[in-house]
């Protein structure tokens, strides 16, 4: 400081040190307080605090407090004011600082006075290190935090049973950790999906809870069950991706197959003819039904048909052998002949038809003739009036029948007997009802009209004829197509490709439904892939096929790994639960009063008898009416030598596949097939 001989830097340095000493206590107190809270939560609640968090908070608070106290700036004016206060200098230094630039004599005297006063002041005297109340609190908080840490590490303050339980959970945690590591190692081959990352994180979290005894066995099982659901989701996701690769592989295979089909002589126009319109299908079905063939079902699998571009090919058409085809052709030819004859008979042009219709129209009663007839039918008409009306009616209806004409002439001549009049009246009544005076001729004309085809009917007949002709062509081509397909399919290459594709598809579908691949199945599929790929002639297609199949396989292996991890985790937890239950039974505290043969009435804990079973779980219904409540959660398929118990959800997809395979393409009526599908939908809970 230029104004005074006071060593300002020495004061500032001392202030930083003393302030750091003080803020260290503040930071340490805060850190130790937070650490105590964290460790306390870790010790007595389900909250999990990372292992070194407590110590980190204590040391971090200490360090942060010290750092803040040391690095905060120390202004010269503040130092002056502070020293004035602490050393009792009566604001001499502050005033001297203000008067630094003053040349006044009094200011000069003041500065000298301040200088004299400052000489007796020393930084250590003004700013001593003091043990404050904050320091005491810091020490106490640190001791508390350390105590909690020691209790957490040594188990001091816990009962023996609690320690034993914790040790059991910790042993399960080791297994869960191992499974989680294996899962991640498996996933290392492929980048883990988001769900897999969540699954691994969930398993790690569960393992940590088990290690620290933060979770009961029952809750661990529940949590593991949720993770198993996630594992299934992850497996499905992998299966979905595998499906995409399989589609790509199938495209490559189809290209290879198409080449094989061409080589076998399959022409595109022939292949197209196998795709029948709905009318042609209907027609063919009728023909086949009439022939009562035993099994005219296609022997070609859908993949082969897809490869040949005949995915919409009619099953009946593709299923018929040569003899059956010939029979159907003959029947069809007969029907075509019949239709042709009918068309020929009813061939009347529109002019002729109009003339015929006009003749019918002319025979109908005109309004005037009807009026005249009605007048004649009215009672009280004199003979003269009737004669006039008859004469008028003859003029109005020249096309009347001969019989009617004679009767009217008699009436006009007034030469009719009462009997004849009565007969005449009935005749007129009938004419009114029939709306004509020449019923016989009108009926003849109408019959003639009905025997002729209408233009619409003629058009339909022509279309029908066209469909028949096309079907005839399809029938003519189907044997060539069948022969070409069979020839192509009989090649080893195509069979191997088809087998590999089918195997992979099935495995992918199983994975989609939560069923992983066995090691043997994986090896078998791998072998099939290699064989199928090696048989493909085109190197580019071969490489594409192999690569896509391999990727699909990797995805499915990863999905299977997810499922296996979940199963292993459930087993790890379930086996311990079983041991607990057995231990409990030995101690006479067994609450389980039933067995696994259908008489289980109560079980306090899900349990796992061991073995290499898949994860299953059935939660029973509570029967309110019974005194005993039924509640069981089984995590195993069967007891030793006991009846097999497998949840129907597990076997249902397989049964459904079998049913669909049996009914697809068969001659089972459509409504029956729908009925079967609805049945499976209903028991699977689908709408």
């Amino acid at each position: 400081m230029a104004v005074l001989s006071l060593d300002l830097k020495a004061f500032q340095r001392r202030i930083r040190l003393v302030r750091a000493w003080r803020t260290m206590a503040w930071g340490g107190t805060a850190g130790a307080g937070l650490g105590s809270v964290a460790l306390g939560l870790d010790l007595w609640t389900n909250v999990i605090v990372p292992a070194n968090l407590g110590a980190g908070l204590v040391l971090g608070g200490l360090f942060a407090g010290t750092l803040i106290g040391f690095i905060l700036p120390v202004a010269a004016r503040d130092v002056m004011r502070s020293v004035d206060r602490r050393a009792g200098l009566k604001d001499r230094l502050t005033t001297a600082l203000d008067l630094a630039d003053s040349a006044d004599e009094m200011a000069d005297a003041q500065r000298r006075d301040a200088d004299r006063a400052a000489q007796s002041v020393h930084p250590k005297g003004v700013y001593p290190f003091r043990w404050s109340r904050t320091h005491t609190i810091w020490v106490i908080a640190t001791v508390i935090a350390m105590s909690f840490q020691v209790m957490a590490m040594t188990g001091v303050g816990r009962l023996g049973s609690q320690l034993e339980q914790k040790a059991d959970l910790a042993s399960s945690a080791v297994q869960v950790r191992r499974i989680e590591r294996e899962l991640m190692n498996r996933s290392a081959q492929l980048p883990p999906t988001k769900i897999e990352e969540q699954l691994a994180a969930g398993m790690a979290s569960l393992a940590e809870k088990l290690e620290k005894g933060k979770i009961s066995r029952e809750d661990a099982l529940k949590e593991a069950d949720k993770l198993a659901q996630k594992a299934e989701d992850a497996a499905k996701e992998r299966a979905s991706v595998a499906g995409t690769h399989l589609d790509n592989a199938e495209n490559a295979a189809q290209q290879a197959q198409q080449r094989a089909f061409k080589e076998a002589g399959l022409r595109e126009d022939q292949a197209r003819k196998m795709d029948l319109s709905s009318e042609q299908r209907e027609l063919l079905n009728r023909l086949v039904d009439a022939e009562e063939f035993e099994n005219p079902v296609s022997t070609f699998d859908p993949a082969t048909l897809r490869a040949a571009g005949m995915q919409n090919a009619d099953q009946n058409l593709m299923g018929m052998n040569r003899e059956q085809t010939e029979q159907v052709r003959q029947s069809l030819q007969n029907q075509m002949n019949e239709l042709q004859a009918r068309m020929n008979e009813g061939a009347m042009d529109s002019t002729q038809r109009q003339q015929l219709e006009q003749q019918v129209e002319d025979l109908k009663l005109s309004p005037e003739a009807r009026q005249t007839l009605e007048q004649m039918q009215q009672p009280g008409q004199s003979a003269e009036q009737m004669a006039d009306l008859a004469q008028r009616l003859q003029e109005l209806a020249p096309n009347m029948s001969q019989e009617m004409q004679q009767a009217l002439q008699q009436m006009a001549q007034q030469s009719m007997s009462p009997e004849q009049m009565q007969a005449m009246s009935e005749m007129l009544q009938q004419a009114l009802e029939n709306n004509t005076l020449n019923q016989e001729q009108m009926e003849q004309l109408q019959q003639q009209l009905e025997q002729q085809m209408t233009p619409e009917q003629m058009q339909q007949a022509q279309q029908q004829m066209q469909q028949m002709q096309q079907l005839m062509e399809s029938l003519a081509a189907n044997q060539d197509v069948r022969q070409a397909l069979q020839q192509a399919m009989q090649s080893d290459q195509m069979q191997r490709v088809a087998e590999a594709m089918q195997g992979m598809r099935e495995a992918q579908q199983n994975l989609q439904e939560g069923q992983g691949m066995s090691q043997q199945q994986q090896e078998q599929l791998q072998q099939q892939i290699e064989q199928a790929a090696s048989g493909m002639n085109d190197p580019q297609l071969r490489e594409q096929f192999r690569q896509q199949m391999q990727q699909a396989m990797e995805q499915m292996q990863a999905g299977t790994g997810n499922l296996q991890a979940a199963q292993q985790m459930m087993q790890a937890l379930g086996q311990q639960a079983m041991r607990d239950a057995m231990q409990s039974a030995r101690e006479g505290n067994d609450n389980q009063t039933g067995d696994l043969r259908g008489n289980i009435t109560r079980d306090t804990m899900p349990w796992e008898p061991g073995g290499t079973t898949v994860r299953t779980g059935i939660r029973g219904e509570r029967r309110e009416s019974d005194a005993n409540e039924d509640y069981v959660e089984v995590r195993a398929p069967a007891q030793n030598n006991g009846p097999s118990r497998v949840p129907y959800q597990q076997v249902l997809p397989q049964y459904r596949r079998e049913a669909e395979r049996s009914t697809t393409g068969n001659r089972l009526p459509k409504e029956r097939r729908d009925r079967i599908r609805e049945y499976y939908d209903s028991i699977q809970g689908k709408k």
């Binding site: 004016r77 502070s82 602490r86 005033t95 003041q110 006075d113 700013y127």
Partner: protein, 334 residues
């Protein structure tokens, strides 16, 4: 004389005057100090105390020590302004002519003791207080300037309030300090009795002159005030205002009006005198605290609630000081 020499001379002079006064006046150090501060700071003093505590003697002794003219005015209800300021009287000159001649009143002195000023009517009080402020009076259209130094020491009896005219706030504000004259303690009272009832007489001798008094005032002006200290003084003043953010709860509750700007001037000037008397060349916050009570107690106007609760302004000032102390923290938290 400047700087350190002036400051030392100030302290010596004041010390000598105090020593001389102490020869006559027993005890009453605070009162003596207040009077000397007023003299050095060029401000008038309002003394509040019971009769017979040596106020008149103090003024007379001060006049003797400094060689100044002393007058005492006993204020009564029938005292007229002219009785204080003086008046024009009809007089004959040597030539036989007649003219008005100004007869100066008792206010024409260096030290004026306005005894029981609150017994005079407001009109007379106003005449007195105008002279205090303007240092001059106007009679018959002529202005008459008062000699310097001019110091008024007014007294009030805090007990007998019947028939009095309390000074308005505006006029109270013109007194630099209001000093309460306490009753003597046992030792002091014994000394008073001993001195006044025996044969021995005590008297003070002149140790300074009129010019010295004027010089004292110049020295006071030279004393510097640090900005931080000035801010502290302003904090004290603002804390007496109930609408101020810095006011303590007592101020907000009991004070109607706080100190005027004259209060800030008074407290800083008084603090300067205290610093010099203490041998320092700068004003400290302690000086301000010491000056706060006499400088502010008559400048705060309490409300009815304070009257009802029996509070006086001294208590408010104590709260203000306490609040300011709490706010004035050590800037270094170490």
């Amino acid at each position: 004389m400047k700087g350190q020499e002036a400051a030392e001379w100030f302290r010596n002079t004041v010390s000598k005057v105090r020593t001389e006064i102490a020869k006559v006046i027993v005890g009453q150090d605070e009162v003596v100090e207040g009077v000397l501060v007023g003299l050095a700071a060029n401000g008038h003093i309002l003394l509040e105390g019971m009769p017979g505590l040596g106020k008149t003697l103090l003024v007379k002794t001060l006049g003797e020590c400094l060689g100044l003219e002393v007058r005492r005015i006993q204020f009564t209800p029938d005292l007229m302004p002219a009785d204080v300021t003086g008046t024009n009287v009809l007089a004959s000159d040597d030539a036989g002519g007649r003219r008005f001649e100004f007869r100066p009143g008792p206010i024409f002195a260096n030290l004026v003791l306005a005894d029981e000023i609150n017994r005079a009517t407001p009109k007379t009080q106003s005449a007195m207080l105008e002279a205090m402020q303007e240092r001059s009076i106007t009679v018959g259209g002529h202005m008459h300037t008062l000699d310097e130094p001019f110091l008024v020491m007014a007294t009030q009896n805090p007990v007998e309030q019947e028939g009095t005219y309390p000074l308005p706030e505006a006029q109270l504000d013109r007194f630099l300090l209001k000093v309460t004259v306490p009753f003597l303690d046992r030792g002091g009272l014994a000394e008073v009795v001993r001195r006044t009832t025996g044969t021995a007489t005590s008297s003070a001798s002149q140790v300074a002159s009129r010019e010295d008094v004027l010089q004292l005032r110049e020295v006071v002006k030279e004393v510097p005030v640090a900005d931080d200290v000035l801010q502290y003084a302003l904090t004290l003043i603002l804390a007496t205002h109930p609408e101020s953010k810095e006011a303590p709860d007592e101020t907000k509750k009991y004070v109607r009006y706080g100190s005027s700007p004259r209060g800030a001037q008074a407290i800083v000037t008084t603090a300067k005198v205290y610093a010099l008397m203490d041998g320092r060349y700068n004003v400290s916050k302690d000086d301000l605290k010491r000056a706060a009570m006499p400088a502010l107690r008559h400048r705060i106007l309490l409300n009815f609630e304070a009257e009802a609760d029996g509070l006086n302004t001294d208590r408010i000032v104590r709260h203000v000081l306490l609040q300011a102390d709490l706010a004035d923290k050590d800037p270094i938290h170490a």
